[in-house]
Subunit: 187 residues, 2 copies
């Protein structure tokens, strides 16, 4: 299990796909941008779709790790961490290269619900839901499942709105809403 080249390809492909979109990024462009020959790319991945799936797996791992860690760094109790999720998002939105959620993009370009790329994007969201539900439960909040789903709606909305950019600070809008929803779920 050597790391290096293959992982390097996936990592650089992630950047390119995130910046340019999936369909708009051709394999030739990818080869030119990464400096890795097309032949080598197709030794590692049988199709472009396989490469995209690998990219999404990496993104899922990175994003969830980053978000969960950042939430823990920003707050101590589970309840405060739920709220801190939106501060973490705000940091992300403020990054220069922010272009929205990669999984929303992926499911926008591969719309069929049975398409592997679409299914994997949905799986990412499901993983997030499990974690946030668990956190809401640990916080001792009433109806943790429903609350988690509501908070995640705010998160999705904030990510989309931050990309569409017609609003100043969607993360803080979401945070204010989240605080009220959490308050309403105290028991």
């Amino acid at each position: 299990m050597r790391p290096t080249k293959r992982d390097e390809l996936v990592q650089q492909a992630l950047q390119a796909f995130y910046r340019n979109g999936f369909q708009a990024t051709g394999m030739d462009m990818l080869a030119a941008e990464t400096g890795i020959s097309k032949t080598s790319m197709y030794k590692h991945f049988r199709t472009k779709e396989d490469l995209i799936l690998a990219v999404l797996r990496l993104r899922d791992e990175h994003f969830r790790n980053w978000l969960y860690r950042r939430m823990e760094e920003l707050a101590e109790t589970p309840r405060q961490q739920l709220i801190a999720m939106f501060d973490a998002l705000e940091e992300w939105f403020a990054e220069p290269g922010y272009r929205g959620c990669m999984f929303i993009k992926a499911s926008s370009e591969y719309q069929d619900a049975n398409h592997p790329i679409h299914k994997q994007s949905a799986e990412h969201k499901r993983m997030l839901e499990i974690h946030i539900t668990d956190l809401a439960r640990k916080a001792g909040l009433r109806d943790a499942d429903a609350l988690a789903r509501q908070l995640l709606l705010l998160k999705e909305g904030a990510m989309v709105t931050a990309h569409l950019g017609h609003t100043a600070n969607p993360a803080q809008d979401a945070k204010a809403a989240a605080i009220q929803l959490i308050e309403a779920h105290r028991q």
Copy 2:
């Protein structure tokens, strides 16, 4: 100003783009699907981008008209209409061909904030924001601007989540959250 053919093209192109995505729908496929010759299409629209912009204009008009009217049909007072927005969304999500928000898709495929397609998508969201803010104000709710932004975050989140489909009924989750947020903004 003859209607017919040009409008027919835009309407059918809307269906095709919504079903298949923008980049994935070629002009040849469009010609085959609509029965309108490529030559005619390029007589009406100088580029594919121009056609997409026309499609988005039509979609904006249709969607906003539909949503506003449905909200009024479903509820009487402005405050109830704000809540009814999510019942209207639920109806939309339940339609067989539902594939998420066309403007989110468009901004996902044309990511550059300065791209005309991206800008027009943002404009659609801004129009919605104005209307919902106005409604929140008519409902006599405190901090109508902030509340409207929060409700719209729920709406965006619900549309995305309904498309990703990892959750049973995002519209009703959003509605429950909206009710609590509105309640918190009574004065």
